[in-house]
């Protein structure tokens, strides 16, 4: 067909059209540089994500600092309610957590050593007693009980040590609470009371 022949002629002319010599010789080199730049741009953390991460770190840091300060607070201080609230949250998430016992024990020791804030000591010891009783009831596995008893033993020693600096009446109550917490299910003290036990000869 005449049209086909004409198209063949047109095609020959069309194929003669070439890019510049520069493009033929260096086109790929020029493009490769752009590809490398593109790769480098992709590997850098996107700018907005960098800022978002920074803000997140600052906010988290602020929260962390806030909770650190709350954790270190004592009864009567402004952040103390936050500390108590966080204990509730922790206990909700992990019911066998003894965070309350630990925190009350630390508070007792801190207050007894400090010159200020001693008026809150009786309430704190009372809270300690309650926390110990509560955990003692809740601990079901033997392993957890032994661990808890060991902790109470350590706390008892620390209370005894703190008695040298004063507040002996309140610290005595704390010592009793720790002892009570370590006692077995039959209500007696494991160390001193064997008369009710069926094990071993008398």
């Amino acid at each position: 067909m005449k049209t086909d022949r004409y198209l063949e002629r047109l095609k020959k002319e069309y194929l003669k059209t070439q890019p510049s010599k520069r493009m033929v010789d260096f086109g790929w080199d020029d493009l490769e540089i752009l590809l490398i730049e593109e790769e480098m741009r992709k590997s850098r953390f996107p700018r907005f994500l960098t800022y978002a991460t920074l803000v997140l770190i600052i906010v988290l840091g602020a929260f962390f600092g806030f909770f650190q300060a709350a954790n270190a607070s004592l009864p009567g201080q402004p952040l103390y309610p936050v500390k108590r609230l966080s204990e509730t949250i922790i206990r909700t998430a992990s019911p066998t957590s003894d965070i309350k016992v630990e925190n009350r024990a630390k508070e007792i020791l801190q207050i007894s050593k400090s010159k200020k804030g001693k008026e809150s000591l009786p309430k704190t010891v009372e809270d300690y007693q309650k926390a110990v009783s509560q955990i003692k009831e809740e601990l079901s596995s033997l392993e957890n009980r032994e661990e808890f008893q060991k902790k109470l033993e350590e706390q008892e020693e620390q209370f005894r040590e703190a008695q040298k600096h004063g507040s002996s009446k309140e610290l005595e109550r704390a010592i009793e609470a720790a002892k009570e917490g370590r006692s077995g299910p039959d209500g007696g003290d494991d160390d001193n009371d064997r008369s009710g036990s069926d094990s071993g000869p008398h």
């Binding site: 005449k2 095609k11 069309y14 194929l15 059209t17 890019p19 086109g27 590809l35």
Partner: protein, 188 residues
């Protein structure tokens, strides 16, 4: 080995190069570039009619194709069609921007240098340009892709986002138009 076998082999070759490029092999992509950059340049050149611009758009085509490599799949079409589609879109974007600029400025002002450059460029490929001038831009693209660059109807359908049947019909109409024009001019 027949022509069909050679073409088949080359297509597999390109697929292998593209697969390597998709894994980050720049040298493989370089080989792909060397296979196709002239085709893309010619296609773009007869749309924009300026050499430097055509070269810029060609480079931009390959840069965009590199960025879009992860989304390319040979199941959806050939890499050649992928490149032509990108090039075509860039030409359309350029035309759109040119129209916006032309509307903003009431008259186009060319320097003496521009006029001279335009003239010398227009002399090249004048026969092709004149012959295809009777077609609209879409028909021109179809004739170039089908008859000069030898893309299949399926590839052209991929490039233009139309179905292959519609492409065949448009190509047929474009040829008819061209035939009538050439008869009028006494070329055939």
């Amino acid at each position: 080995m027949g022509l069909g076998d050679i073409i088949g082999f080359m297509e597999t070759d390109v697929e292998a190069l593209v697969a390597r490029a998709q894994m980050g092999d720049r040298d493989a992509y370089g080989e792909v570039y060397k296979l196709y950059f002239r085709k893309i340049f010619r296609f773009v050149y007869y749309s924009v009619e300026k050499r430097t611009l055509a070269e810029d758009i060609t480079q931009d085509t390959f840069l965009r194709a590199w960025k879009a490599l992860p989304s390319f799949s040979s199941e959806r079409g050939t890499f050649q069609a992928f490149l032509f589609a990108i090039a075509r879109n860039l030409v359309i974007d350029h035309s759109r921007k040119r129209r916006e600029v032309a509307l903003e400025f009431a008259e186009n002002v060319f320097s003496g240098e521009d006029l001279e450059a335009n003239l010398s460029e227009k002399q090249e490929g004048e026969m092709v340009r004149k012959s295809l001038s009777v077609l609209d831009s879409f028909e021109k693209e179809l004739v170039i892709m089908r008859y000069f660059e030898e893309l299949s109807y399926e590839e052209i359908a991929n490039v233009t986002q139309k179905n292959a049947g519609a492409v065949r019909v448009r190509v047929h109409r474009a040829l008819k138009k061209l035939r009538e024009y050439l008869k009028e001019k006494g070329e055939i």
